[in-house]
Amino acid sequence: MNTDRRATLFLIEQLLAILFFALTAAICVQIFVSSQLMTLTGEARGEAALQAQNVAESYKACAGDLAAVAEQQGGSIDGSGLRQYFDPNWQLCGQEAASYTLTLAATSEPADPVALRRAQLEVIDNQGRVLLAFPVAGREVE
């Protein structure tokens, strides 16, 4: 009878421990997953910043000429501006295989060639989340 009671008590103790463990494990797994996601997002943002910087510097060097930027940095020009498509390893690729898209859209194109030209630069992932966005400007330097 005593042995039975001891086994039952041990079982209850075990079940309580498992319940506590299940709760803490669920919290831990959530933390692990979110840390993994944060690392991936941080990595993507770092790469996006590098690619965006390249295009922005090129935009300044080309005095706001999007076609010249496309020639220097790669990408294609469509109605909304310059577009670059990147695969998951941040190598330039076609639209079908793209995981990330960089867009450089002109917001001000004055007729005066030495006037300041402005554009909006944006990098998004394939779920439409904006990784970073900032305005750029450039003009002809005599």
């Binding site: 840390s35 690392t39 510097e57 090129s58 060097a61 390893n89 330097v141």
Partner: protein, 171 residues
């Protein structure tokens, strides 16, 4: 003496089974945690290896960005175009007490190297100070736009930097 009850016979293996299950799940969660930690660390290390070289060079270039004081050329011939260079080198120039000094930044023997000396002196690539390990480093220049390519490990990265100083593309 009483014979063991059927409840006891069933209870002990069940308790043991629950205990084993608990231990296995505990180990699995620990393994998962260790794996995530290792992944995060490996990614951080890879990102550091890839970016540190470019960030270092970008900071250097910005520091020396004065008219005609930053340009890309060959290690042995500062007048040769970087596209035709045997050993592409980034020249960062500064004047010290009226005399021109150059810091040559280049890749040789698995390292990004720096060599600081008065302009016009001849050196061998091995004379430079090894700064950072790398697998490949290249420089290109189109007008005021300098593009640095650095590879550490499998994948390389490019960084384009526009010289802010007007007439900065000196040689």
């Amino acid at each position: 003496m009483r014979p063991p009850s059927s409840q006891h016979k069933l209870g002990t293996p069940f308790v043991l089974l629950v205990f084993c299950l608990f231990t296995i799940t505990l180990l699995l969660v620990l393994l998962l945690g260790a794996n995530v930690y290792r992944n995060v660390n490996a990614r951080a290390a890879a990102a550091y290896d890839q970016r540190v070289c470019l960030d270092y060079l970008a900071a250097k270039l910005r520091h020396y960005d004065q008219a005609g004081m930053v340009f890309c050329a060959d290690f042995h011939d500062p007048k040769r175009e970087p596209a035709a260079a045997e050993l592409p080198t980034l020249y960062l120039c500064q004047e010290v007490e009226g005399e021109l000094y150059q810091t040559r930044v280049y890749f040789h023997d698995g390292y990004l190297r720096e060599l600081f000396a008065a302009a016009g002196l001849e050196f061998a690539p091995g004379d430079g100070q090894a700064v950072l390990p790398a697998d490949e480093l290249n420089f290109d220049q189109q007008g005021r736009l300098i593009t640095i390519f650095c590879r550490s490990g499998d994948q390389g990265q490019s960084l384009s930097l526009l010289l802010r100083s007007q007439g900065g593309a000196g040689r």
